[in-house]
């Protein structure tokens, strides 16, 4: 292409540029730290919302508390597009197969937050109907207590999960790849 018809003036090749300070030309990092840093700020939550904790989930998602500050604002309503399963509310034995199916449909890497005491342990329910904590059927990464939890508690849970993701190993190629 003729340079005179192109609106951007081509710069000189990098090798001929001279900079006084070459400190920021290269960054070195560890692979796990880099991927962990990227992943902890791009959590796509799937809200599995069953009960009254939903009100507090709406509060923490809305603008006053703004989980987008942590990169965790955009809910995906397909588990295939999500990597954070937020189980918000009581899960009954009748519902447990649905929760398990949703969890199994999520792609790796994936994390699970038990939002509120019912999802964490069954809460004050202990009867024929209630599953006493979702960790009986799926692994849980972070438990958020409260009935319902305050938005600050949820944000603390998200930040703890972020720390956990940042500290984790992030294999690029796994045995299942």
């Amino acid at each position: 292409m003729d340079a005179r018809t192109f609106p951007i003036t081509p710069v000189a090749p990098a090798a001929s540029r001279s900079t006084k300070d070459a400190a920021f030309e290269y960054l070195t990092t560890r692979k796990d730290e880099l991927i962990g840093w990227a992943r902890k700020f791009s959590l796509f939550p799937y809200p599995f919302v069953t009960a009254c904790c939903a009100m507090e989930f709406m509060a923490v998602s809305a603008s006053p508390y703004d989980t987008d500050r942590f990169g965790a604002a955009l809910p995906r309503f397909s588990p295939r597009q999500a990597d954070l399963l937020m189980v918000v509310g009581t899960v009954t034995h009748k519902q447990a197969p649905i929760l398990l199916k949703v969890y199994e449909q999520m792609c790796e890497p994936k994390w699970v937050m038990a939002f509120g005491v019912c999802a964490s342990s069954g809460g004050f329910y202990q009867n024929y109907a209630t599953l006493l904590g979702i960790d009986k059927i799926i692994p849980v990464d972070v438990y958020v207590p409260g009935c319902p939890p305050r938005p600050e508690t949820v944000i603390d849970g998200i930040m703890q999960l972020q720390d956990k993701i940042a500290r984790s190993r992030h294999p690029i190629v796994t045995e299942r790849f």
Partner: protein, 158 residues
Amino acid sequence: MASDDLGTLQRELVPAAGPATVSHGTIVLVLAAAELVTTARRLRDEFGFDLLLDVTAVDWPADELRFEVVHHLYSTRHRVRVRLKTRVGAGNPVVDSLCALYGSAAYMERECHDMYGIVFRGNRDLRPILLYEGFEGHPLRKDYPKLREQPLVAYREG
């Protein structure tokens, strides 16, 4: 409907049973299981009780007639509530369905069947509505173990 109609209801509907009472503004009629449908039909057609509010039961484990099946009716015209109490035994816990009188009876009787195992003769769909297929027993009976769970998903080990 004035409160002195309590005596009228008593004389007309359940002459053989004990006296009708008023509990928290609700007229309470105690009747035999065989009288349930005829009484409910008269309450609907002659006394204006056009709304079936609830069908539930009470378990009295020590009693010979163990289950007390309770119906609540409401008259939107007179703004009066009436409660019908019927006793059935544990061996044959059968009462007649009110499906033919009130469409809303179908689901509430299904729930009562779930929770207490009361059989409503004439209700053709008594499948589980709140419980799930395969659930054994009736959880609101007093002899259902409080901590018994019937999970559908196998628990993780550990």
